[in-house]
């Protein structure tokens, strides 16, 4: 059971938001453990993106392309397209809550090469503080995302509250091939690094060029006719 289950006050900074891991620290530990040949689907705005990019040195294997409600969906598609490659998804509790159909798709298609880590800080931190404190999300009180993922059919789910548990889940995530959903209880706290200065278009090109390189394939076809004409082929088809 969720140990935050009895507090439903949506505005007062509650004592239960003092449990969980420091986001910057646990993202750093995750970045250090990530296999070199893995791909990452993450958000491209907000503190998670800024801190992840800082820890990973803006490595192009991380797609900072997801937004509220679509990060897991994007990761499912990426994992289904590249079943031989480990894909890690980095999402937030507010984003998962916005589109719970993503959990259904995750459980339904269950890509064995996909592991989802959720930064669950129990609040909508990116919108800032009001007079009553942070705005809490449903995970602060009533909703257990890992339990929902399990109910949707995801074969391995976990709630992480300590670094030891995080280490154990990372070991499982990166040494075996099982579709997994790991919800990491995270302390609220503002980003410790500066905002990123790229938009989704630049991030898209950077990631796609990287996938083209490591997969030895061509994804972008922006001048197909010119290419065919230069080869003496008829482009009209």
């Amino acid at each position: 059971m969720n140990d935050r289950a009895n507090d439903r006050n949506a505005t007062t900074p509650p004592s239960e938001l003092t449990d969980g891991l420091d986001r910057y620290d646990w993202l750093g530990r995750l970045a250090a453990r990530l296999p070199e040949d893995a791909l990452v689907m993450a958000t491209y705005i907000g503190a998670v993106s800024f801190e992840w990019a800082h820890h990973t040195g803006e490595h192009p294997r991380s797609a900072h392309l997801g937004q509220m409600g679509d990060v897991i969906g994007l990761a499912v598609g990426l994992a289904l397209a590249l079943p031989h490659r480990k894909v890690m998804c980095l999402d937030g509790d507010g984003s998962v809550l916005m589109e719970l159909g993503q959990l259904v798709a995750l459980g339904q298609h269950c890509p064995a090469n996909l592991v989802v880590f959720v930064v669950d800080n129990g609040c909508y931190e990116s919108i800032g503080w009001g007079p009553g404190g942070r705005r809490l999300s449903a995970t602060a009180s009533s909703t257990d995302l890992a339990a929902m993922a399990a109910a949707a059919g995801v074969p391995h789910t976990a709630n992480v509250t300590t670094f030891d548990e995080l280490d154990a889940e990372m070991e499982l995530a990166f040494t075996r091939n099982v579709c997994s959903f790991v919800n990491v209880r995270t302390l609220p706290g503002h980003a410790r690094v500066a905002p990123r200065q790229t938009d989704g278009f630049e991030d898209k090109y950077r990631f796609v060029r990287y996938v083209e390189q490591v997969e030895g394939t061509q994804i972008l076809h922006l001048a197909r006719q010119d290419r065919q004409l230069m080869k003496g082929q008829n482009p009209n088809h």
């Binding site: 969906g73 598609g77 990426l78 798709a105 938009d199 898209k204």
Partner: protein, 168 residues
């Protein structure tokens, strides 16, 4: 869809190089979903929500697939949130195959609002589209939609209606 039209649509998808399809079956394109699901050259990922289906298609494109999303035009309203976020925000191509419920000839009252909304919504999302009412035009229309989708790195749509779905 009429069986002949569904066959033409499948042929169009394959000739366009589409190798990944997501979507939510509807009454008109149910048989196209079945053809796609049975085709060994196309990876099929059905969903319960067209918005999630669009996200999955976009992720598949990032991994090197050529995706299409097959759905009723009502599904465009559900998917529009993620078309805006992903495609207007980052530039990702996905071919949209939409049943044009509410087109002239519609028999069902519930289809009317779907017809009223779909074209203005496609325009709002800056998604170019072709309305295909002749099965003989399906194949080349799908290929053309796929071509512009790749060239502009943004979705393009096919609205299916008329003689593709009615035999009157």
């Amino acid at each position: 869809m009429l069986e002949h039209a569904a066959g033409e649509a499948l042929a169009g998808l394959k000739e366009a190089g589409i190798d990944f399809v997501s979507g939510l079956p509807d009454g008109w394109q149910r048989n196209l979903h079945e053809l796609v699901e049975a085709d060994p050259e196309i990876q099929y990922a059905p969903v319960c929500n067209e918005g999630v289906g669009f996200s999955i298609c976009a992720g598949a494109w990032l991994g090197g697939k050529k995706p299409a999303l097959i759905m009723e035009n009502s599904g465009l309203r559900v998917a529009s949130e993620y078309i805006a976020r992903i495609s207007l925000g980052t530039g990702v191509p996905v071919v949209l195959m939409l049943s044009y419920r509410g087109d002239v000839g519609e028999t069902e009252h519930w289809g009317i609002p779907h017809g009223i909304v779909v074209e203005p919504l496609l325009d709002a999302l800056r998604v170019p589209y072709l309305i295909v009412r002749d099965p003989a035009l399906l194949r080349r229309s799908i290929k053309r939609a796929q071509r512009i989708s790749e060239a502009q790195l943004h979705p393009a749509a096919i609205l299916i209606s008329g003689d593709c779905v009615w035999n009157d």
